[in-house]
């Protein structure tokens, strides 16, 4: 996908380190923050279950997952606002589970800004600096610099309660960054911004992170934001980490149906692995590139809509009838009915509704996943238009 590409340039080093740690070549003191075996309940309801996660120095890690999956709670554990029921939090190898927030070298951009209403923009940003013995001139310089970075020059004397949501959010970012913390925790910091400003701020935040050399732990439920900004993405659902990996890994090699469905669009089919590199689905046996399964093991097969090509009937085994065609600008989104299973295909070729077409899938575009508890929850696109309505309603109803 096009939006994944740019992350390639800047996160190479952390990615290499993560690889080394995973292959145990490097010592564990490379880990800046570590959550080990964290379990957290609220009123008897488990919110996080046996969470294990480490974050490298200067890494950009994103926690991604649907609303209520425990992202904020994870962030609050790192910030020191919650203590785990089980498990520990480590900072540079030292246990900080019981350390109060003001003693942690971590600053937070809160989900709802939490700006001080009795202070103006300038004083909000200067808040942390005033605790130390920083000279007034130095405070003025640093506040000015921060306000410039978040594009709020000239707002110094403004009342924070009179600012727009996006402006408040940027004040919150400036306030958390001014003291140059080792780690910045950001809880959906761009949630209140319109699309254009959001894109600009994504680039801006990424630049800040690299220029200041700060570790970012970033929470979002916007998968595109997660993929385009992060070194490492942590996909969560229901208090359990589903997958940790680079944006490319997460997108190209989803571990289970939940990840495949949550990140981008995917056709998820029931399949059977007859042998290494040989999978049967939709009534045909096709060549693929994955292996390591039992003989005839049932599996989930994931095929991304943009990996399917529409070809003339007869040239490939899988074929179906075009149901609907939607023009999306760059490509068409075509729903194809293959023996009752509705595929989504994204292609620049047009195919008229009602015509019968062949679907070509190359071996390396077939991704095989083990069956999981999510296997039967996500299927085809037969209810796609209902889903779109629903997610549209969610997007407007879910402001928090």
């Amino acid at each position: 996908m096009f939006f994944v590409m740019n992350s390639q340039f800047y996160c190479g080093f952390n990615r290499y380190k993560r690889m080394c740690i995973n292959s145990k070549k490097m010592e564990k003191n490379e880990k800046l923050i570590e959550l080990r075996g964290i379990t957290k309940e609220f009123d008897g309801t488990p919110v996080l279950t046996d969470l294990n996660l480490y974050i490298l120095d200067k890494e950009f890690v994103t926690l991604l997952g649907p609303s209520g999956c425990g992202k904020t709670t994870t962030l609050r554990l790192i910030g020191g606002f919650e203590t785990p029921d089980k498990g520990d939090v480590f900072f540079e190898g030292k246990r900080i589970t019981d350390l109060p927030p003001y003693k942690r070298p971590v600053n937070t951009v809160f989900q709802k800004y939490a700006l001080f209403p009795h202070l103006n923009v300038y004083e909000n940003v200067a808040f942390a600096l005033r605790l130390g013995k920083v000279a007034e001139k130095e405070i003025a310089r640093r506040v000015k610099e921060m306000l410039k970075i978040v594009n709020l020059e000239g707002f110094e004397r403004r009342n924070v309660e009179k600012l727009s949501g996006g402006q408040q959010q940027r004040v919150a970012i400036a306030r958390a960054l001014v003291n140059q913390p080792r780690v910045l925790l950001l809880d959906e910091p761009l949630g209140a911004l319109d699309l254009k400003l959001r894109k600009d701020m994504q680039v801006e935040l990424k630049k800040i992170q690299q220029r200041m050399g700060i570790t970012f732990v970033y929470v979002t439920h916007d998968q595109e934001e997660a993929l385009s900004m992060s070194d490492t993405v942590v996909v969560m659902d229901n208090g359990v980490i589903q997958q940790i990996g680079t944006p490319e890994d997460i997108y190209n090699e989803p571990k289970n149906a939940f990840v495949a469905d949550f990140i981008g669009e995917s056709n998820i089919l029931d399949g059977i692995m007859h042998a290494d590199k040989l999978v049967e689905f939709s009534g045909h046996t096709l060549e693929c590139v994955d292996g390591g399964f039992e003989k005839d093991e049932p599996v989930d097969v994931v095929i991304r809509p943009e990996d399917v090509d529409i070809v003339p009937l007869g040239s490939v085994p899988i074929h179906g009838v075009v149901n609907t065609v939607t023009f999306k600008g760059v490509h068409y989104e075509i729903i194809v009915d293959v023996q009752g299973f509705k595929w989504m295909v994204q292609t620049t070729d047009y195919a008229a509704p009602g015509t019968e077409v062949g679907l070509r899938i190359l071996p390396d575009e077939i991704h095989i996943m083990k069956k999981s508890k999510y296997s039967d929850l996500y299927g085809d696109y037969s209810t796609y238009f209902d889903e779109m309505d629903k997610s549209g309603a969610e997007a407007t109803g879910d402001e928090n």
């Binding site: 910030g79 020191g80 606002f81 109060p100 927030p101 003001y102 971590v106 600053n107 937070t108 809160f110 709802k112 939490a114 700006l115 001080f116 209403p117 009795h118 808040f127 942390a128 605790l131 130390g132 306030r175 958390a176 003291n179």
Partner: protein
């Protein structure tokens, strides 16, 4: 537009009538009596009389007592309100009810019960003696009068402060801790400034009734500490000098107005009960 404001005026009519009858009219009477003599002729004699050392002392004493009572109320009420506002919602309700409970009792009965507590062989000294501590003499001292004021008006200080503190967003406290504030720093840099309007309301609501109070001093101070309220009462009830009584009320109103104006300068115009 026009019909709307016309309607609004009709709707406001009963309220305006009420205000004229019970607020403006008494004030005009006070003004009238203040500037006339017993025969009804214009006179500034009443006000001149108040410059007499005897009355000046009464005014200064009233203000001093009220000030001390207000400060002590504030020192007691703030931590109390803070503690209550941090309790669980259920506990908050119970505590606030306990604080309001004495207000359900008649003012006179409350004052009599304080007498019973503070008397030389009253409740307080009985307890002290049983603990092996010698008796203290409080009744008929200025301390007893001030204690009476505090006891009577403390709820008026707790209530507005509790109201602003309970509405304080915990996330602001978290943000403050996050940015490096110790709990003490969070208190002085975030909690205190954000509760100022409640403090201003509380101070006003305790100072005003304290400075104009009557009866408390007669009963608890052994009639040794004449306060404005008592003097005014005497002019109307026993001396029948309505003109002097009205002049005192006038001066008292001016004092209250000035103190409220001073307090409002410190208010940030939101939150508290007194605007």
């Amino acid at each position: 537009m026009k019909t709307k404001s016309y309607m609004a005026r009709i709707m406001a009519a009963p309220h305006i009538l009420w205000a004229i009858l019970f607020i403006a009219a008494p004030m005009l009477f006070v003004l009238y009596y203040s500037f006339t003599d017993a025969s009804g002729a214009f006179s500034t004699e009443n006000l001149r009389l108040l410059l007499d050392a005897k009355y000046l002392t009464i005014f200064l004493r009233s203000m001093a007592f009220a000030l001390v009572a207000t400060v002590i109320c504030l020192l007691v009420a703030y931590p109390l309100a803070y503690a209550i506002s941090r309790a669980t919602p259920r506990a908050q309700k119970v505590y606030m009810m306990l604080i309001m409970l004495p207000m359900w009792m008649n003012f006179l009965i409350r004052t009599y019960s304080i007498m019973a507590i503070l008397e030389d062989n009253g409740f307080l000294n009985t307890i002290l003696n049983s603990l092996g501590i010698p008796s203290v003499h409080i009744i008929n001292t200025s301390a007893a009068v001030i204690f009476g004021m505090i006891y009577n008006y403390l709820p008026y200080m707790v209530l507005p402060i509790y109201t602003v503190l309970s509405r304080l967003d915990v996330r602001l406290l978290e943000a403050s801790a996050d940015l490096g504030c110790t709990p003490a720093q969070t208190f002085t840099r975030v909690v205190m400034p954000l509760s100022r309007s409640g403090v201003v309301s509380g101070v006003t609501m305790v100072f005003v009734p304290s400075v104009s109070t009557f009866y408390i001093s007669q009963k608890l101070g052994g009639a040794k500490y004449d306060l404005i309220g008592d003097s005014i009462e005497r002019q109307f009830q026993s001396a029948y000098n309505y003109n002097l009584g009205a002049a005192m009320s006038l001066v008292l109103m001016v004092i209250i107005l000035i103190s409220m104006a001073i307090m409002n300068r410190y208010s940030d115009g939101e939150g508290g009960l007194v605007a």
